[in-house]
Structures are given as structure tokens and as C-alpha cells.
Assembly symmetry: C2
Homo-oligomer: 149 residues x 2
Amino acid sequence: MKRNSRLSSTLHILVHMAETQEHTLTSEQLAIFIHTNPVVVRRTIAGLRDAGIVTSSRGHGGGWQLGRAPEKISLAEISAALGETLLPFSTEPESPGCLVEQAVIAALDDFRVEAERLLAEKLSRITLADLAADFHRRYALIGVTSHAV
Amino acid sequence: MKRNSRLSSTLHILVHMAETQEHTLTSEQLAIFIHTNPVVVRRTIAGLRDAGIVTSSRGHGGGWQLGRAPEKISLAEISAALGETLLPFSTEPESPGCLVEQAVIAALDDFRVEAERLLAEKLSRITLADLAADFHRRYALIGVTSHAV
DNA sequence: GTTTCATGTAACTAAGTTAGTTACGAGTGG
DNA sequence: CCACTCGTAACTAACTTAGTTACATGAAAC
């Protein structure tokens, strides 16, 4: 797992979970998908459990499952549950009282609020089901190609 | 200078430069504005020079100046010249051949391309002159307040 | 031409962030 | 009880970036 790939790694995991909704997947199995280890997986998706996106159970037969249908899980929720910031820059005052800085921060904050609203809106239109459907399309295509070749 | 505040720090510097277009400002003077040191300033805005946003000159009376009128300098250009990424997440394949991952990456890349276009468009509409004007508004307001009180 | 002032840049240090790892506690079901 | 699994704390390693030091280069003043 590389830096700042938490969103894509998590989506990878979640689509696999969408593909096996009938049974649970352990942290260990999920870790294999994204080439990391079970503790990192638990830590990463702990926030998703709190948001109801996934559920976890302990003991024999325990593991992880989607908390609701993939159609009802948007990328916006996932991103928010991961605690990811959509915009990377900060605007904390460093020279309190400097009017130039205040003007800069005001402009950037306006931009950020608007931008985050836009991005969240876009992400809210993409669901896990969409990703799963695209996966199925690719899977079918490979099958056809295999037959053809 | 804190983490990821390069954009706001740079804007801070640039607005100060817009306010003193008649003469140059040294790295040392600029460093004081953002509470850091001259080398960090030079390193940070080196990219802006390459982009023509600022010019630098050495020796006696040397220093930094805007490369063109503040009306002609947009935040989009500044952000690009700083090498800042507008979106923080990466989508590098980590499991080549995994169709689930391919579907995830395709979706995120589509989103990113569209999002970056949107954000760049928004930033291109804000110029240094806008920030300077807002600064003047704030300055005038303080003046009025001072008279009133 | 020497001195002074300024940028350009390399090299190193310190601090902060995050993934990875180890270890162990706490539920859960056979 | 035992095997399995998550929950979580604590530590390590790698990486990133701001800060710093040092020095070369260039330009103006004298």
C-alpha cells in the first residue's frame, strides 16, 4: 500500500466484498487483495464500520461484510468515512493580523468550500454497485477475448 | 511554514509583491512575511520564475518582482507552477491484472480528470489582482473602524 | 578591481506522517 | 477449552518536507 492510495485500496477491498456478499471475508483475505497485512486493513476500514458501510464480527466464521447493498454506498460516503480530505492545501493563519494573509485565506477558503461541495456531489453519484458493474463488464470482455483468441 | 501551506504562503508573498510593484523585494524580506527563511522562499518560488510569474535579479538592488500585471496572474497558474496536485489521492496499479482494481482505477481516474478540470477552471478565474483588491477593502475597513472608535 | 549584496543550489538535519509489524487482549463458536 | 478473528496499542522503517548551513555565481557601488 503506497502513500495516499487509501481510497483506491479501500474501494478495491469493498468491491471484492460486494462480489462475495453471501459470506464474510477476514482481514487476512482482504489484506492479500491489496498486498498489505491484516492490521493495516482493520485500521484502514475501522472508520467504515463506524459509518455503517461495513460490519465486522469476531470469532469463528467472523470477518467483514458490507453493511448495506452496494447500490446504497457512494464513494462520497467512503471517502468521508476514511477521513480523507478532498483538497490537499491548508489555510491556517500564520500571521494573525496581517490583512494580506486574511485576504488570501478568505479567497482560498471560499474556493475550498465550493470545491469540496462540487467534488462530494460528484463522488456521491458513484456507488460501489457502479464499480462492481464495471468489473463485470471487464470480466465478460476478457471471457470473450479468451474465446476469440 | 506548515505542511501543505505552500499555496497560501506563496499567495501571501505574491500579494505583497503586487503591493510594491515599483521596487524589488529580497528573499529575506519575503521570508519575514511568511515566517520562514530566505532559502525556503527561493526554493518555493523558483518554479514561479520558470513560469514567468515572477522575475529575480541578483546583486545590489536585486530581489523579486512580479513578472506581469496582477490581473494577468491566476491562481491556477500559480498552483500549477508550484507543482501542487489539486487532488490528493493516487491511483497507481498495485495488483496488475486484477480486474477489480482496474475498475476502481478507471472510475477514480475519470473522476480525477473531471475534478481537476473543474478546479483548475475555478482557480483560473481568481487573479492576484482580486486578492489585492480584497486586501484593500479590508484595509479601508480597518481605517474606517479606527476613525469610528 | 574589490567590496557588498543578492540569488542559485547542494547537502545535511529535524520533524512529522504513515505503512508495516509485533504483541496481546477480548469476544465467539465448535 | 481451543481455535479463530477482530480491536488496539506500541514500536519501527521509510518517506516527505521545512529548515539550515555553506558556498558559488552574478551584479551594482565605490
